[in-house]
Amino acid sequence: MKFFLPLLLTSLTANAKPLSIEVVHNTAREIDNALVSAQIKQKITPNPIVDDATFVRRAFVNIIGRTPTLNEAKHFIDSKDPEKRFKIVDKLVQTPGFNSQLFNFWTDLLRVKTRNETAGLGWHVWLKNAVNKNMPYDHMVNHMLSAQGHVADNPAAGYYLRDRGMLLDNVSNTVQVFLGQQIGCAQCHDHPFDDTTQMEYFQLAAFLGGTEYRFQGGRDKIKELVGVAPGKNKNMMGMANMSRKERREMRQKMKGKLQKARDLGSVFRYHNRNALYDNPQKELKLPKDYQYDDGKPGENVKPGFLFGLETKDIPPTQRRKYFAKWVTSPKNPYFTKVIANRLWKQAFGYGLVANPDDWSNSPDPLFPEIVDLLEKAMIAADYDLKQYLRILYQTKLFQRQVTSESPAPGFSFHFAGPALRRLSGPQLRDSLITLLSGNIDHNTDESLQKSWTKYVTSFKALMKADQQQLAAIDKASDYSEVERRKVQKEISQLNTQMRKAKGEGDAALVKKIQQQIRDTRRLANQKTAKEGKNMMDMEANQVPIAMMAQAATRRRAPRSRPDHPENHLRTSELPTPANSGSTVAQFGGTDAESPSSAHTDASVPQILRLLNGQETNLLTDRGRFANHLRQQKTAKDRLQFLFLSIYATYPSKTDQKQFLSEVQTPQDAATLARAMLTSNRFLFVQ
């Protein structure tokens, strides 16, 4: 056997290239060996290896986030290739399904809200591209934590803009998500259980002490064009050093310019929600009710790191860069281990450190040596998450039977095998849609990306406009703002009428009002476009550019296709979080309110949906699946079709004995299919 570290270390130079098969296999074996010898010491017997059917279902669900299709399952089970388990893992990590699954992991952990201002859309699209391009984890986090300026220039800034106005909460979440520590309590008082004091909390937050939510680029542009920036100008033209009289005269002189700056500045009215600025003069202050001896209330706080790491003189303009660097440094005692443990949980259903969000309050891990090993593997894989996960999926542990008892909360898990898990919200929805439509992993909904690209283009055009163009754009955008409000008012009145009609159960009237709303919107858009064009007092060939630029002065609501099973799209192609009442939300998909809010708890509405919902009806009544089922000629064919499609297995002898008599007619087979969709055997992944 080759040694683990030297092999991996050689991969350090080969950035972003897949690890060689040998490296992956040897590392996986290293992990297995270390685990088994630790387990033997603790008298834990590893579980036996699962059969092909169990493995193929587990591999598909874990790696690409959905159950296998009939053909995928059959092909794998029928294959005589002794290497087939290794091969399928290596194949699956290269498919778009892998990205889909990982993207869902991020939206849950990072609380992505696609519909939250323009920044939400930009960040969503950026994150998706980062996953699709397999951006190394440390780069990804560094990009987000050090992002500056406007989201159109740097969409990773969406990470901070997600919590606009809530900088302290953002800091708590950053430390929880990337470093696995809960320091939120120290926002108000010394942490009762951990070591973090309120002072330490504020010192850490002080790295973000200069961060403001505003668009400096817009101000700079106006200043460049008009001579002064809009808004407060405390030290305009060196006024601070002038006498009172001089100042008055200066103000008089500047009056026209200030007015103009204010006027033109309104084109950027929505941009402060979508940009960050680091004000070098600003520092974080201790809260007014600070109660400890190590600082005075209201006093400025200098930045300082947690975990006793030293800070040198930090230039005020570089605070967030230093912060990002500290979080993502391989020397940070938690950064690498935390993501290694989170992905371990993704692969095996439970963390080596039991609570990945709260290391300090987790019981001591049973296998600290594995945690160390994973940290090394992650660093050696250069934070390439795909390669890291590939290693975990190539372990023997990933092939072992799940444990019959679930991990006991508050205890470290013994990992005799992986934990039994229910399909997650997105996994369940995507599995149902795959049953309905076949493999849809390659389908993409470009509308979010397109919507974003369009915005960026118009933003760039806006930033390039000269004074005259900007004045025209301003006029048109003021006009369209007034119109927008008018229309909004009309529509909200119509909405009230519609709610009333709904309340009265007048379906015809509801329909009529819905049409009215659509018409109102369409007519208003046409009108503002036409009028806006007329207002563009410039050469005809300039007008389209100015119109495009004007689009960036408006608020943007991302359009996307509604979540419908016949859309043939994976959950990861839709805006997040899923609407309440949707399949994903009902089955515990993320609500994007707190990190890792997704859950797999049972509820009555879930069962009702499986019993009587749209997906089940489509599957058994009129969809493609129903047709295929009808085409099966014999009872045996029907049973095999259902078992391979829904359970990814051939019916066993017992299954045949029990169920052949139940599928004598296609209609009876449909009833069995409906029963299968509500069974625990379907909902859980062994």
Binding site: G165, M166, D169, G184, C185, Q187, C188, H189, K288, D289, N361, S362, P363, S404, E405, S406, P409, L420, R422, N495, R499, K500, G503, E504, G505, S580, G581, S582, G588, E593, S594, S597, A598, H599, D601, A602, S603, V604, P605, Q606, I607, L608, R609, L611, N612, G613, D621, T654, Q658, F659, E662, Q667, T671, L672, A675, M676, T678, S679, N680, F684
Partner: protein, 436 residues
């Protein structure tokens, strides 16, 4: 093997039930010996379990106290902001000016102005208020609604679930370590009500029954392997039975808001929250014991007052309409209405016209069954920054709800790991001053 051997699970059950029997804690009815103070016993005896139902309105995100239930008209403007205090139908009780309609119901309300906790982050605060305990890695504590049904398992109407949440977020503690049947039924959108509760028309009763029988058969092997050791697997079996029962319920119309008149709809308001409150009334009317309706988006770190202008009138209208409606239907004598949230907001307004998290002082409201209306309990200082009298914890508050329902807040229930827990938390005591 001939001798009887208990597997670990049943041994645990056996031990805990012996423990319970020894302590006399699993017997129903009121017995003074349960209480750790005569005062509390008296409070419970007095309330006489008037509240058969609870409608628990939860303002998610942390509702500002100084702008709503604890206005400070005398405070400097950097605290008070543009919010004015208005008089109510009870002398001496004032509310923030957004609560214009609520002000006409102050005679039914008890306002607790001395809430205090140490949980200043959303998830932890939310957990603490719902459970009266602080979050632990080792177990999830049950939330109020599950406690109520645990302590008094007799269902008011057998075909509807005893605990429903409306518009609740993912982080609801639900039944905690209690059995899954005590978990709330979550309604994601009040206007849609309970979806998919009707069997498809082209599926016959016979087919449907066959489908149910087949499910059990399909899971035989799976159940043998996992039911004992996996709580979530058992939960799905229980939920399945509950769902099938619910489909047969004659009371499903309780979930259907279209049965309400136009006037009622308009009285409650047109927002999603308004519909949730209306649904709560329908459910209570149909025998649901505990309904929690959440109103999200109270985390006003910036533009506190613009957001107040948007959201508070919605709460005001729905709350006032609910009290009026319950009263008219004769349900207010048996229904307790609660306003709760995870914490208050910093009374000193910050540079973005925002208010930040403030667990040191905040306000809750109780109204209806078992509650002494026209009461204010506890007080904060001149700027609503510190509790100066009758400091009240989440545990006390939950114990008060228990008392109003005629439940023993001090009854011990053991977790599967055999640790003792109570509806009123470790130390909670009912506030007798607000109970009738």
């Amino acid at each position: 093997m001939t001798h009887l051997q208990l597997d670990p699970e049943s041994r645990r059950d056996f031990l805990s039930s012996t423990a319970r029997a020894a302590l006399g804690v699993s017997i129903g009815g009121a017995a003074a010996s349960w209480f750790n103070s005569a005062e509390a016993a008296e409070a419970i005896a007095k309330s006489n379990g008037k509240a058969k139902h609870v409608i628990y309105l939860y303002m998610a995100g942390g509702m500002t106290h100084i702008d709503t239930l604890d206005p400070k008209p005398e405070a400097p403007s950097e605290y008070r902001g543009p919010v004015k205090a208005i008089s109510t139908n009870v002398d001496g009780i004032q509310l923030g000016h957004h609560f214009e309609k609520t002000a006409k119901h102050a005679d039914k309300m008890a306002i607790i102005r001395s809430m205090n906790s140490t949980q200043g982050a959303h998830a932890q605060g939310n957990y603490h208020i719902h459970t009266a305990y602080t979050e632990r890695a080792s177990l999830t504590h049950p939330s109020l609604g599950s406690w109520a049904n645990k302590l008094d398992p007799a269902r008011l109407k057998s075909t509807l679930p005893p605990f429903v949440t409306v518009h609740a977020g993912n982080r609801h503690p639900g039944a905690g370590f209690f059995e899954p049947s005590l978990a709330p039924l979550p309604v994601g959108d009040a206007e849609k009500g309970l979806q998919f509760a009707k069997k498809k028309k082209n599926i016959s009763e016979k087919q449907f029954n066959r489908q149910i029988a087949l499910r059990a058969k399909l899971d035989t092997e799976f159940a043998a392997r996992f039911n004992k050791g996996q709580r979530n697997v058992r939960a799905y079996d229980e939920m399945f039975d509950a769902a099938v029962n619910l489909m047969k319920s004659k009371d499903l119309e309780a979930f259907d808001l279209s049965k309400e008149t136009k006037e009622t709809h308009l009285a409650y308001g047109t927002e999603k929250f308004s519909k949730g409150v209306l649904l709560a009334r329908r459910l209570v009317e149909n025998g649901v014991r505990f309904v929690e309706v959440q109103y999200r988006g109270f985390d006003w770190h910036s533009n506190n007052f613009t957001q107040a202008d948007e959201k508070l009138p919605v709460l005001d209208q729905a709350y006032a309409a609910l009290l009026t409606d319950l009263k008219q239907r004769g349900l207010l004598d048996s229904t307790l209405v609660v306003i709760a949230t995870e914490f208050g907001r910093t009374p000193l307004i910050d540079s973005d016209a925002g208010r930040n998290h403030f667990p040191k002082a905040f306000s809750f409201a109780l109204a209806g069954a078992g509650i002494k209306g026209g009461t204010v309990y506890g007080a904060t200082d001149k700027t609503a920054s510190n509790v100066i009298t009758d400091k009240t914890s989440a545990a006390d508050f939950n114990a008060t709800i228990a008392a109003a329902m005629g439940l023993n807040h001090d009854q011990v229930i053991y977790s599967p790991s055999r640790r003792p827990f109570k509806m009123g938390g470790k130390t909670g005591q009912p506030i007798k001053e607000v109970l009738t």
